[in-house]
C-alpha cells in the first residue's frame, strides 16, 4: 500500500488505502516517486496519517507544508498520527468526542 507525502518537509504521509499492523507502506512524493518504505506500527485506514520519523512530544505535525497541530506524546516512526496523539493549536475537539473516535476506529493507544 502507498502513502503520499505532500510536501518535502512533512513529517507525516497520508494513506491511499488501508494497511494492517506490521504491513510495509511505500511512501511516495507528490510526483509519485517512491521515497521510503515504512512498517506500520498499527492498523491505519485510508485517508489517515503515518509518522515518517520519530516525532518528539510538543512537535508540530507538518502536512502539505503546514502545521496541523502539535503532538501530545512521543510518536514513533510508523505510528498512526491522529486524535490520540495530536491536538489542535486553534480549537480542540471535545475529549468525549475524541474517545468516541478512538473507539470507532479501534485505535491502539
Amino acid at each position: 500500500m502507498k502513502a503520499i507525502k505532500l510536501a518535502s518537509n512533512d513529517n507525516v504521509a497520508t494513506l491511499l488505502g488501508d494497511v494492517e499492523k506490521h504491513e510495509v507502506v511505500e511512501i511516495i512524493s507528490a510526483d509519485n516517486e517512491v521515497i521510503a518504505e515504512i512498517k506500520a506500527l498499527q492498523k491505519i485506514t485510508f485517508g489517515n496519517k503515518i509518522a515518517l520519523c520519530d516525532i518528539a512530544n510538543g512537535e508540530q505535525i507538518l502536512k502539505a507544508g503546514h502545521s496541523i497541530g502539535k503532538s501530545i506524546t512521543e510518536i514513533p516512526l510508523g505510528q498512526l498520527v491522529h486524535v490520540q496523539n495530536v491536538r489542535s493549536e486553534r480549537l480542540d475537539i471535545p475529549e468525549a468526542i475524541i474517545e468516541e473516535i478512538i473507539k470507532q476506529m479501534g485505535i491502539e493507544k
Binding site: 507528490a30 485510508f46 485517508g47 505535525i61 489542535s88 480549537l91 475537539i93 473516535i101 470507532q104
Partner: protein
C-alpha cells in the same frame, strides 16, 4: 498556452464567455411571469428575489441582483415587478443601463396585469435576445477572465486530489494573467496565519483575520456549534486546522490581493489580476450568485459529493472520488488517489478545460439540471444583534 480567449465584448470593457438575457423577478409574486417569458427566449435565465417584496433589510440581496446583471455573461436585463411591494425595478435596471447594457422594466399592476405583462415581456426579451445575437466573440485578454473557486461535500479525496489540483490550476491561471477568487471564510478557520503570510500587505492580512472572526461569530451564535464531525475524523482529519487546510489547498499559493467584502454597503471587486479571498458564502447555490456578482465568468468546483450547477456562470466540476466519476464530472482527479496521476498533470487538464469552456465548449452539465439561482444575504437583524455592522 494561449494568452487570450474568445469572449463577448461588453460596453464596460469586460468580456463574457456566455451571452445570456437575464430576466429578474424582483419579487416572488412575479416569478411565474418571469418563467413564462423565459420559456419563449432561448438562453435566457431567471433570477428571483425569494425573500420579501420590501426593500428594507434586502439591500444586500438586491445589490447581488444588480451586480449579477452586469456580469460579463449577461447581454441585457428585463426586470419584472408586481408593483405592490417597495422594490422599484429601476433599482436594478438603472445601474445595469449605466454600464451600457440594455435594460427594461415592466410593472404588472401598471401594465394591465399578468397576461399582458407576459406578452409585453416576451416582446422586450426578444429585443434583448436580438441584441445579444448581434454580438460576436472577439479575442479577449486573459486579464479579463475571473474564475470562482468553490468546494462542496468535501471528503478525503478533496484534500488530497481535487483541491490541490484546482489550487495548482489557479496558480497557473494567475501566472497567465487571470483572476481567481475563493470564499467560504468560515472554512478557513485555523488557516489565518498562513493566509496572512500570503497577503500582499499587513492590512489585507488583518482584514482576512477580522472577516474570518466575523463569520465564526455569525455561524456560532449558539455555543458549541460543531466545526468537525466524527465522520471527518474517522476519515482521517485530526484537527480543525487540517480540515481547513484541506479546503485552503484549492486557493493555490499565489499572493492574496485582498479579501473582498459583500454586504448591504460593500461589493468589493477585484481591481488587478491575481488571487482574492471574498465573502462569497460557503452555501453552494448562493456562492454561484456571489461569484456572478463579483464578475466571475466561470466556477471551478471540487466535488466530494454531488453538487450544484448555475445557469449564468458555468461550473467545471473536479473530483478525485471514484464513486463520483459519472458523465457529470468534467475532470477526473482519481489518478492522484491511486498514485497513477499527479497534481501537476491534473492541474494542466483543468487549465485546458477552463480555456475550452471560456471559448464556448459546454461543461458536462451546462444546460442540464440547473440549480435555483439562490440569493444568499446576511440577516441584517442578526448582524446588528451580534455587533457586526460594517462601516
Amino acid at each position: 498556452m494561449t494568452a487570450t480567449f474568445k469572449g463577448y465584448p461588453r460596453p464596460n470593457g469586460t468580456f463574457g464567455i456566455r451571452n445570456h438575457v437575464m430576466i429578474v423577478a424582483i419579487d416572488e409574486c412575479c416569478e411565474g411571469i418571469a418563467r413564462n417569458i423565459s420559456k419563449e427566449i432561448e438562453g435566457s435565465v431567471v433570477v428571483t428575489n425569494h425573500y420579501t417584496c420590501m426593500y428594507g433589510g434586502n439591500e444586500e440581496m438586491i445589490d447581488t441582483i444588480i451586480h449579477t446583471g452586469i456580469n460579463p455573461n449577461i447581454a441585457g436585463v428585463l426586470v419584472i415587478a408586481m408593483g405592490c411591494g417597495s422594490i422599484d425595478p429601476e433599482l436594478v435596471a438603472g445601474p445595469v443601463r449605466a454600464e451600457g447594457l440594455p435594460a427594461h422594466t415592466l410593472t404588472v399592476i401598471k401594465n394591465k396585469g399578468t397576461i399582458e405583462t407576459i406578452k409585453d415581456g416576451i416582446e422586450l426579451a426578444k429585443q434583448l435576445k436580438a441584441h445579444a445575437d448581434g454580438i460576436e466573440r472577439v479575442d479577449a485578454p486573459v486579464s479579463a477572465l475571473r474564475i470562482g473557486i468553490k468546494c462542496g461535500g468535501s471528503d478525503t479525496s478533496s484534500g488530497l486530489a481535487s483541491n490541490p489540483s484546482v489550487g495548482a490550476a489557479s496558480d497557473k491561471l494567475i501566472d497567465l494573467g487571470a483572476t481567481t477568487m475563493a470564499g467560504e471564510l468560515l472554512e478557513l478557520l485555523g488557516c489565518e496565519d498562513i493566509l496572512k503570510a500570503r497577503s500582499v500587505s499587513p492590512e489585507v492580512g488583518d482584514k482576512i483575520e477580522r472577516l474570518i472572526a466575523e463569520d465564526l461569530k455569525r455561524w456560532h451564535v449558539i455555543e458549541g456549534t460543531e466545526t468537525m464531525s466524527i465522520g471527518n475524523s474517522v476519515g482521517g482529519l485530526t484537527t480543525i486546522d487540517e480540515k481547513s487546510q484541506g479546503a485552503m489547498h484549492k486557493t493555490g499559493s499565489r499572493p492574496i490581493q485582498d479579501c473582498l467584502r459583500i454586504s448591504h454597503i460593500h461589493r468589493e471587486k477585484p481591481t488587478t489580476p491575481g488571487f482574492y479571498l471574498t465573502e462569497t458564502t460557503m452555501l453552494c447555490g448562493g456562492s454561484a450568485m456571489h461569484f456572478a456578482s463579483l464578475g466571475a465568468q466561470l466556477i471551478l468546483w471540487t466535488a466530494g459529493a454531488a453538487g450544484f450547477n448555475n445557469s449564468i456562470v458555468p461550473v467545471i466540476r473536479v473530483s478525485g472520488n471514484s464513486s463520483l466519476i459519472t458523465a457529470d464530472m468534467d475532470i477526473n482527479a482519481c489518478g492522484i488517489m491511486d498514485a497513477t496521476d499527479t497534481i501537476d498533470n491534473v492541474s494542466n487538464k483543468i487549465v485546458e478545460r477552463v480555456f475550452a469552456v471560456a471559448n464556448g465548449d459546454k461543461t458536462n452539465l451546462e444546460g442540464v439540471g440547473y440549480a435555483y439561482a439562490s440569493l444568499y444575504q446576511k440577516d441584517q437583524r442578526l448582524e446588528h444583534v451580534i455587533g457586526i455592522c460594517p462601516q
